[in-house]
Amino acid sequence: MSAATYTRYELVRTFRNRRFFIFSLVFPLVLYYLIAGPNRDETDIGNTGISAPLYYMVGLAAYGAMTAMIASGARIAAERSLGWNRQLRITPLSTRAYFRAKVLTGYTMAVISLLALDLAGTTLGVTLPAGEWVRMTALILVGLVPFAALGILLGHLLTADSIGPAIGGSTALLSILGGTWFPIPSEGALHVIAQLLPSYWLVQASQVALGGRGWDSRGWAVMIAWTIVLSLLAARAFRRDTQRA
């Protein structure tokens, strides 16, 4: 009895799912080349002193990783509408192991997405010191935790039909307000709102590579708060869903 085999097949399924693959891997790559490609010679984007290829590389890395993470949990919606979760409930697989497999799959896809963006960055001339790259990647991986909970929450709240638009909409909104597409001004209402979002801090994590400071105490507090709230909501949605069945 091992959840390892189960998780392995979860990964196999994910790799074979073309729509999922394109959505969370190919799409960020295409966006990157569309945006950063024409501006590859821009060396000082928005007076930040950072080159466009590097700025968008880290921004889209955060976006791609976030999308992969949310989409992985959200696949629960499809399994629910198939009745597959009922089938799993009459196996010894624990709920914990089920979620663990989903989160692990999400992390795997997120890491692949990150690496793909890094690779794309180097084709546009981006170079990063190894130390900064490691620090950035580590902080992004920590920053994905609340999005894992968000994916599981959406997977239990929504149907297989509505999940696609819901993910597209929420990731777009989160990434715009988080600063993926353009730098968030350092003061004003937008700044205040952005700082309350987990995506803002995820982008901050990615900008460690741009010489950013990563997370201050406020950043950690926001991330931990989102993780707790989304996990509680996800647990509640899960319980409601199993009782109704």
């Binding site: 009895m1 091992s2 959840a3 390892a4 085999t5 189960y6 097949y9 196999v12 399924r13 994910t14 074979r16 799912n17 399994e79 198939l82 009745g83 597959w84 009922r86 089938q87 409930r89 009459i90 196996t91 010894p92 697989l93 624990s94 009782q243 069945a245």
Partner: protein, 314 residues
């Protein structure tokens, strides 16, 4: 009604014990009392059919048996354990009535995936062969026909080598041939000594494959006996005819007639032997017209057994 005498509390001898199960859905005016008190003991090794029309409470009973639904009242014990403990120990295999299969895996891979969750799974090749899936083991699950999907779901229930196999209307999407093949495998599995509970609304399926039939109607078990006993109970036939100037007494006195119902000149005779009854009827009342003889369908038989004549007439 016979009381169950508990001779032993030895848990090794315990099979499936359902005690006072009650389950309702909804509330207020729209409340549906799906199961209204089910008490059953099933011995290890028995093959039991849960027979009843749609809406009789079969699926809800099965969901409670499997621990998928929490009963409002009553208890479930599987081999002396709670349902969830028996499931966690890998002793239960089930084929639910509804439920698709996850995509992007081959037949073999999906069985392997599910098998990996159990402590003592069967050999994969054996399961594939037994369920006739060996020829299509490489096919992706989303490319299977309805019958193939059912067979794969059966394989998923079998692969854990469970002590208890629960099947909720397993042959629903199968054609005649697939149905036949399915029950052939089932009987072989039953011969291995597994406890099997299956739901069906086909009397023939229950008759051919079960040691014991539990007849369910309106959330209750209304009869519990061998297939032959149940068949005799539900074998009632009905004669409908238009008869002038006949009294209830005269009609009820006819040979083979067990019950009389009248709507003006139109009479409905419940018969223990419709062949004898029709001869007697024609002899006694020469102007009988518009004769119809029909076998009572299961639903009518159930409703007669529950004594709910109002609903039976509706």
């Amino acid at each position: 009604m016979a009381e169950v005498v508990v001779l032993s509390t030895d848990s090794r001898a315990a099979g499936v014990e359902l005690r006072g199960l009650v389950k309702s859905f909804g509330s207020g005016d729209s409340i549906v009392r799906a199961v209204q008190g089910v008490d059953v003991s099933i011995a290890p090794g028995e093959t039991v059919a849960l027979l009843g029309p749609n809406g009789a409470g079969k699926s809800t009973t099965i969901d409670m048996l499997l621990g998928l639904t929490t009963p409002d009242a009553g208890s479930v014990s599987l081999f002396g354990k709670t349902a969830s403990d028996a499931v966690a120990d890998g002793e239960v295999g089930a084929m639910l009535q509804t439920g698709g299969l996850i995509h992007d895996l081959s037949v073999r891979e999906l069985i392997a995936m599910v098998a990996s969750l159990y402590p003592r799974p069967l050999d994969l090749d054996r399961v594939l062969e037994q369920t006739g899936l060996d020829a299509i083991e490489g096919r992706r699950t989303q490319k299977l026909s309805g019958g193939e999907t059912q067979r794969l779901r059966f394989a998923l229930a079998l692969v854990s080598d469970p002590a208890l196999l629960v099947l909720d209307e397993p042959t629903v999407a199968m054609d005649v041939e697939a149905r036949h093949a399915f029950w052939l495998v089932m009987r072989r599995v039953a011969a291995e000594g597994k406890t099997i509970v299956f739901a069906t609304h086909y009397l023939e399926e229950a008759d051919a494959n079960a040691d014991r039939v539990l007849l369910m109607a309106r959330g209750r078990i209304v009869a519990d006996g061998s297939p032959a006993e149940i068949k005799a109970m539900t074998g009632v036939r009905t004669i409908r005819a238009t008869v002038r100037n006949a009294t209830d007494e005269a009609l009820a006195g006819l040979a083979g007639v067990t019950g009389v119902e009248r709507h003006g000149d139109r009479v409905v005779l419940a018969c223990s032997d419709s062949d004898v009854a029709i001869r007697a009827l024609l002899e006694r009342f020469t102007d009988v017209r518009e004769i119809e003889i029909s076998g009572a369908d299961l639903e009518q038989a159930f409703l007669q057994l529950t004594g709910d004549t109002e609903a039976a007439a509706a």
